[in-house]
Amino acid sequence: MDDLLTDFLTETQEGLGALDAALVRLERAPEDMATLSEVFRIVHTIKGTCGFLGLTRMEGVAHAAENVLGRYRDGTLRATQAGISVILGAIDCIRGIVAALEGTGTEPEGDDASLIAALDAVAGGDAIAPPPVVAPIAVTAPAAEAEPPPARAPAAMVPAAPQAAPPATEPESAGANAPPQTIRVTVEVLEGLMMLVSELVLTRNQLLQLSRNGADNAFAVPLQRLSHITSDLQEGVMKTRMQPIGNAWAKLPRLVRDLGVELGKKIELEMRGAETELDRQVLELIKDPLTHMVRNSADHGLETPEQRVAAGKPEAGRIMLNASHEGGHIIIEIADDGRGLNAERIRQKVLAQGLATEAELAAMPEREIQRFIFRAGFSTAAAVTAVSGRGVGMDVVKTNMERIGGTIEVRSKEGRGTAFIVKIPLTLAIVSALIVEAGGERFAIPQIGVVELVRVGGEGAPQLERIKDSAVLRLRDRLLPLVNLAGLLQLESSATEESAFVIVTQVGAHVFGIIVDRVFDTEEIVVKPVAPILRHVTMFSGNTILGDGSVIMILDPNGIARATGVGAESGEGEAERDGKRQVIAHRSDQRTALLLFRAGDATPKAVPLGLVARLEDVERARIENAGGRPLVQYRGKLMPLVPMSGHWDQAMAPERQPVLVFSDGDRTMGLMVDEILDVVEEVMTIDGAGERPGFLGTTVIGGKVTEMLDTAWWLRQAGEDWFGGAEPAAGAGRRILLVEDSAFFRNLVVPAIGAAGYAVTAVPDAEEALRLREAGASFDAVISDIAMPGMDGFALAHALRESGPWRSLPLIALTGCSDPADIERGRAAGFTDYVAKFDRAALLDSLRQCLSAPVAG
């Protein structure tokens, strides 16, 4: 049976129930216009729907009954008991048909001619034909008449009363006895039930806690049973609130069609997983954001048919919605096969709005740049159309998703399409949370954001490290920024940090750790909103009552991320953590976390925190001297130490030597500094590049001129084997041209490959490179950035391959994003190899390979 018919049957059953009662009222008070109108309306609705569904028999009866009722309503005919009886007979006939429909899905055979004739007769104002006229429903009609009105009224409350099925029209009694498959319940009733169940869950938890503490086991078994039943009940009630996501999508086909017409585009909408169910509360909340995203896809995402054809794509664009379950979450993907996000336009916009500097942008992986579209007021639509591009956009979507504990990601390939991936909880009512303690208070953290739990301090456990006042944790080759929950909430931390727990939390693409004193267990909690006077405290998403009856605040990881700046919309992309050469590992609000220290002279020095693997305090006694170079035994190996002041004198050295440890694979080196000053977050702009060996230039931090460390230069001081292993002469003076628009990266790449023995020439753009070619310069290989203003890397590759003396040179692409599709595009453009921007080893490897193999042609 299709949904439409099911809905109709449910509705009709309700209508019939109401009709019985109303008709009986009408019989007693024929002048009651309100009742008459109600009856007329119900019958009219039934008639209309029947006609729509092609239920001709039922429509005929309903139509005849409606005629009579119409005349009653108009006042051209007075309602009489006999007339009402005939109508009741018609209602019973309809009920019989409905019962049969429920059983078989089709209208039963039968002849209603006499019934319709009787109705017509009434409508015609004729003397009432005797009741036997309604022969086909003879069994029921007399019953309706015989029973006094009060007795009928309660019967009317029960839809599909069994006796309603006239034997003549309903041969199978099974169908007649079938109760309606669905009933309608108001949302309030369900909400009320949900609330009660939530309370029940809390009470159950409380009881369980009591029984765990108490020795009396007499309650254990019944309690266990209660617990199970409660869980089942909870699940059952949750189910009543579940609705297929298709309900939220129902309007989209029309929307997309209209948009297509308006925008002159051909759009196909594909919806998968429409049956995926989620809580109706969540459904309501995501409806608008989803619509907005589909609108966006149609407007910005898809190209016009001409553009598509020109790009070699099918004329009709596709928008795909896909919903699926994953754990306690639902994943919704909104994808299109349109033009994709224009990274260049985003970059320009970012620069224009001053959201980041060029150097920062250059350091950002593509995906991170794409996330700028979630910034408030950030729309890349060149023109404001009627459809979208009004500056309210993805930021609102993101905020809405976060509000319900969800996340949103964007994946886009230029020219290939864009996909938004939304992850939202199935329900908001009950969540699983981790109970933690900080500063003597307990808090709940929803488990959705918790990636892992790390115990720090103690034997063999990772240690918390401090960089001045900032705590960091070295976790699997990565410095994890940490926030101290007690500090954040302005509580006094009672426990020492020597034994604490770090809750590794992910918000969007940002990973950070929250330091707490203790971790208890997990508990199912019912999220209750906080009182209005506390709404401004964004650190909490709600509060709840625990099993022991105490009230506890629920932490909001998004709020914590925002409060600490960790998760501001530009942070480190977890998936982009390719290689340890990443310059900016911990950024926040377009700023780079810089470690400030003093060494040699009074001028403060800075190095991107992301480059520093660890900070150590080495005792003077442990530092050994080998061949005039200081060394220290470090983690079972000898680590060369490089004094920043140029020389190191054991006699003059302080008791404890602060050392910045850099590591790459199994190699480590330590940079000896005088004092660690601070960690700051600054927008990095470097002036006066390379005036002094060992420094990239100067920048102003906190009002003071600060020298930016040229990490590569210092690494080289630790020994030749730092770069290129045992082949320092790999380069052997071969000439390399580097095309890179960002000064910051030029400063990073040039020394890196220069150290391997290559002679490097760097130019800031593709045009300059082509000028060099025209001027007759000759190189052994070209390394080029992809994303550059003006002529980009692909265009440069095309130009070089097309003709000229450099057409057969090895061409290496240097890029922030290096997935297979991108590599493919690079190869198609003529690049010999494709290397991720920070991966120095891969770059050197690639150079070696390209230059050792004789290049064809």
């Binding site: 309370e199 809390l202 009470t203 500063g439 208070e441 307990r442 909430l489 302005q490 509580l491 209750k528 009182a531 209005p532 006077i533 506390l534 401004h536 405290v537 650190m539 909490f540 509060n543 709840t544 009552i545 009856g549 105490s550 009230v551 506890i552 605040m553």
Partner: protein, 164 residues
């Protein structure tokens, strides 16, 4: 649990003096906050509770003492001493009583040092706030009643809850 619920006599029932309340009188529950006598209209009170365990809420306004569990509902506790800019409860005080009121379907508990009796007071005898009254108090007070030798400040619950 240490919850102890004192039932507040419904308005209109026998009160002190055995007189039924009428329209000319308003019935107040008297509280003491740092020796200051205050009155809260009985009609606005949902519950009166003994000393409760209260969960502190970090970063909340100073007046918010925390939250407590009242039969499965979360009640936000407002420290009247802090709200009225009176000194904090001295060490060793046996703990504050909770007078639970409702606003916009949310429950709030007003923490008072002591809860006294239920008093019908003639509306006519309510004096307006003295102009010299502390501005902070004027803001949350409906007026003043003379009770023998003492003055009772009539608390405006709406205003008291207008925090932040």
């Amino acid at each position: 649990m240490q919850t102890q619920t004192t039932t507040v006599p419904a308005p209109g029932l026998i009160t002190r003096g055995g007189l039924p309340a009428d329209a000319s009188e308003e019935i107040y529950l008297t509280l003491t906050v740092a020796d200051q006598l205050c009155g809260v209209p009985v009609l606005s009170i949902r519950d009166v509770l003994g000393v409760q365990s209260i969960t502190r809420i970090p970063l909340a306004p100073a007046e918010v003492a925390g939250s407590l569990n009242l039969r499965g509902r979360i009640v936000t506790a407002i420290d009247l001493r802090c709200r009225l800019r009176l000194p904090p409860r001295p060490e060793g005080h046996r703990g504050a009583m909770s007078v639970v009121v409702e606003r916009d379907a949310e429950l709030y508990s007003l923490l008072a040092d002591q809860v006294g009796e239920v008093l019908p007071l003639p509306r006519a005898e309510r004096a307006p706030n003295p102009v010299t009254l502390d501005a902070g108090w004027r803001d949350v007070s409906h007026g003043v009643h003379r009770i023998g030798e003492r003055l009772l400040i009539v608390i405006d619950v709406e205003r008291i809850l207008a925090i932040g």
